[in-house]
């Protein structure tokens, strides 16, 4: 094991986290946070969780980064949520938080050995699903209900984001990046990158059945390509009231729900699949979910409608 690498990574992560919390400028903290997301992806790789690493890099670093950059650029001076703390408060908070950290560290060092694990339980019935990647099997077979509720959370959050727009713009389009003509470099990138992005996303989607990858990672890349085209002014932002868009958003949950209920009589119960069709059904659900996730992620980053709907 390359322990020096793990040690270096630990130091970098902690230093970056400390920098994000202590740096004076808001924008600098946002940049720090993007770097932090990418460092975390490296930590996940060292923890042998490549699926999580891909998700963290795409969503934690990428999507959150673009979102925060857009917000911090537009955010005016807002009243602080609390008064700037005095020296005493800082000290008390510091001691308290150090205590929390130390208690957690003690717990980490006292974890039982051998560790409890569901790995064997996850591998044993995997042949029945036709999948090779146990993480995908957990997400779409054993714990499909979690994944179903997760897409519901995504939609609820998007409805929340949309409701924060002004009433008169309801159904209109987000105006996130229309502040001036986009730079030529951005337009160039927005023309060159999407073909690669689409191929990589398709690969990640398909390989996710057997190797690290899957619909979330693929969808995030597709959403990023769409956002890039929007930022460069090559693709108009969608009207949030458009029927096609609304249909794309609910396609995933509806397909998931329909197959879930069908499981009541063609398999053992809600969200169960018959063995012979398990893999095609899972792929179908993933494809429908991917459509909804792309739309939901991109629109959440783009923000609520801020222009009148076109007639």
């Amino acid at each position: 094991m390359s322990e020096p690498f793990a040690l270096l990574l630990t130091l970098l992560v902690l230093l970056t986290a400390g920098w994000i919390v202590t740096v004076r400028e808001r924008r600098a903290a946002v940049f720090g946070f993007i770097a932090y997301g990418l460092l975390l992806a490296l930590v996940w790789i060292r923890l042998a969780a490549v699926d999580v690493a891909l998700t963290e890099a795409a969503i934690g670093g990428g999507a959150t980064g673009v979102l925060l950059l857009r917000v911090s650029a537009r955010l005016g001076s807002i009243r602080g949520m609390s008064a700037p703390p005095g020296l005493a408060t800082r000290w008390i908070a510091g001691v308290l938080c150090a205590g929390v950290s130390l208690a957690l560290m003690a717990l980490v060092l006292a974890l039982p050995d051998p560790a409890p694990s569901l790995a064997a339980a996850a591998m044993e019935p995997i042949g029945r699903t036709g999948l090779g990647n146990p993480v995908t099997a957990v997400l779409l077979a054993y714990r499909a209900l979690d994944t179903f509720l997760e897409i519901i959370v995504l939609l609820l959050a998007l409805i929340g984001v949309w409701s924060l727009g002004a009433d008169r713009f309801w159904g209109g389009e987000p105006a996130a990046w229309r502040t001036g003509p986009p730079s030529p470099a951005l337009v160039f990138l927005a023309r060159v990158l999407p073909p690669f992005g689409i191929v990589i996303a398709g690969y990640l989607f398909w390989i996710g059945a057997d190797e690290p990858g899957g619909k979330f990672q693929a969808s995030t890349i597709l959403a990023a390509m769409w956002l890039l085209a929007m930022m460069a002014g090559l693709a108009p932002p969608p009207r949030t009231g458009a029927r096609g868009l609304r249909a794309a958003l609910v396609a995933g949950p509806l397909v998931f729900l329909a197959i879930g209920f069908a499981g009541l009589w063609w398999a053992d119960g809600f969200l169960a699949y018959p063995d012979a069709f398990a893999k095609p059904l899972i792929i179908l659900i993933e494809a429908a979910l991917a459509v909804s996730i792309v739309a939901a992620l991109a629109l959440m980053v783009a923000g609520p409608a801020e222009r009148l709907p076109r007639r």
Partner: protein
């Protein structure tokens, strides 16, 4: 030669530190966007702790327990949704506070 602590344990200690740093930022920073960043640091510390427990659960020919990994993927996506909602809310607050005074709703 066996190292003093394994990489998984080291990252567990790192995650504990991240939770503390995030919590400190959440308490001390007055700016709402910075609080949001700090909260995300706290959350990512919890995710990594979970990942460490998953890594320690390596068995059945796998390098880690797939169940925590799947749950963390779900967690990252949900954390992103919550962050997007909170950030949009902040923009709304900022627009309301900075709008010209003819709105008549200006409070000191």
């Amino acid at each position: 030669m066996t190292p003093l602590v394994s990489a998984a344990t080291l990252f567990g200690l790192c995650a504990s530190g991240m939770v503390g740093i995030g919590l400190y930022g959440l308490i001390v920073l007055p700016d709402a966007l910075r609080k949001l960043l700090a909260f995300n640091i706290l959350g990512s510390g919890v995710f990594i702790l979970f990942g460490v427990i998953g890594r320690r659960g390596a068995a059945a020919g796998l390098d880690g327990d797939p169940v925590p990994q799947a749950i963390v993927i779900t967690g990252i996506v949900v954390a992103f949704s919550a962050t997007a909602l909170a950030a949009t809310l902040l923009l709304k607050i900022s627009d309301a506070e900075n709008e010209p005074e003819d709105g008549g709703k200006d409070e000191p």
